[in-house]
Symmetry: C2
Subunit: 251 residues, 2 copies
């Protein structure tokens, strides 16, 4: 996805699409995810890692609830990467991430990820340009390691407009059921919007050696969920999995 | 639950119950679980640990899929305890378990648990009576620690009949979609049925200081799922949770 300019990518669905039709499609895709995930678990030959990145309120949590909520929790685990602990800070940036990757049979969803170390850290100049460049290389090598160990790595950037984000943050300030999600810092981060967009564009240009990024128009949840469910199904179907037969004795 | 005799406990639902009515009730309970779990996550004051124990094919996996499948995977994690690794064996028996307990806001479901160390290990005489007695005390202390840290601990024993188990194991041998679950060892463990029942009865008699056991008639999935969903809802409602308001600045 070399040299993509996020400003030129729509944050909304194409006008010709019908919301209700798409929602029905998504429902079918969710049943397929449930079925394919069971097969992934039963076969135990592959793993899947889904990386969710996006600005605050871009809909990462909602994606997890609405797309992966259908999956059996036995085979599906969510890992949220928040501000690193003191111990984590004393390790290399991939240490806490590596320990959380899926074993064969499992789908893990990263709610934020190792990419924060080349996004927020870069935007605030907590690390220098040389370190960022090194990290890009380490991320590529790390993802290659996973892919070569039969892990399907899918990376989504949830692309919302700055205006849509403001609306959602304001909702968090006024809806009692959403206030717990509000963080004063979110508005401060919003000030850095353009720097974040630039940092994401650099990530897309530099971190695709092992797994491609997909930019998801995310202003409308129904379209976002459809695209993500569709990609997950495609990737799982491509594995051409089969139920294994009976284990040989004493295996 | 002092001195319960499992032989005297029915493995089936009371005859007067109507399956279809109960299934509708369960569906309502599942919506409540989804709602209450979101509140648990948002409030972040309590955690919930659900321990699932039972003989092979007693329906632990199905419980996870059908009762907890409704929950948002962001707030709900399944931990399966299998044969300990070499490293785990070099630690005390609670070491691998303690690291997997839920933090506040989360529901963790243990698919088997620390109780295996006073069940399978006892049935096969891998540990002596003195060790079992010590472990009972350690389990009580461990669960007390969790409870005092605001974790609701719920322990279910899925009670199936020996005949029902045989039918299910045979199904695993013949249904291609279930063969991956079949393990030759299951039939060997079945030979020890009475010893297992005795070991479970001892567990109930000795490990209730911090959290009670509930014996779930489990020959019929619809009844099993109803009872478990009902208990989970009851326990979550008893917490009288509320959405927190806006965080104070700089918190």
């Amino acid at each position: 996805m070399a040299s993509i300019k996020l400003k030129t990518v729509d944050t909304r669905a194409p006008k010709k699409l019908n919301k209700e039709t798409i929602k029905k499609e998504t429902q079918k895709l969710k049943f397929k995810i449930e079925e394919l995930q069971n097969l992934l678990y039963a076969e135990g030959k592959h793993a899947m890692l889904v990386v969710l990145q996006g600005m605050d309120a871009s809909g990462k949590d909602g994606t997890i609830r609405n797309v992966f909520g259908a999956a059996n929790p036995m085979g599906c685990r969510v890992v949220a990467f928040k501000k690193p602990t003191e111990l984590e800070m004393k390790h290399d940036f991939l240490w806490r991430v590596h320990s959380q990757v899926p074993e064969k049979g499992m789908i893990h969803i990263f709610n934020r990820s190792h990419y924060e170390d080349v996004l927020i850290q870069r935007v605030h100049n907590w690390v220098d340009a040389k370190t960022i460049k090194q990290r890009f290389a380490h991320i590529n090598n790390f993802e290659k390691l996973l892919v070569e160990n039969n892990t399907v790595v899918i990376k989504f950037y949830l692309h919302i407009s700055k205006e849509e984000q403001l609306g959602r943050l304001q909702e968090r300030m006024s809806d009692p059921a959403k206030m717990w999600k509000y963080n004063e810092q979110d508005l401060q981060e919003r000030e850095e919007w353009d720097s974040y967009m630039k940092a994401y564009e650099d990530v897309f240009a530099n971190c695709e050696e092992a797994a491609k990024w997909q930019v998801i128009p995310a202003d409308q949840n129904w379209y976002k969920e459809y695209l993500i469910a569709q990609r997950v199904v495609e990737e799982l179907e491509a594995l051409k999995m089969k139920f294994p037969g009976l284990k040989p004795a004493n295996s």
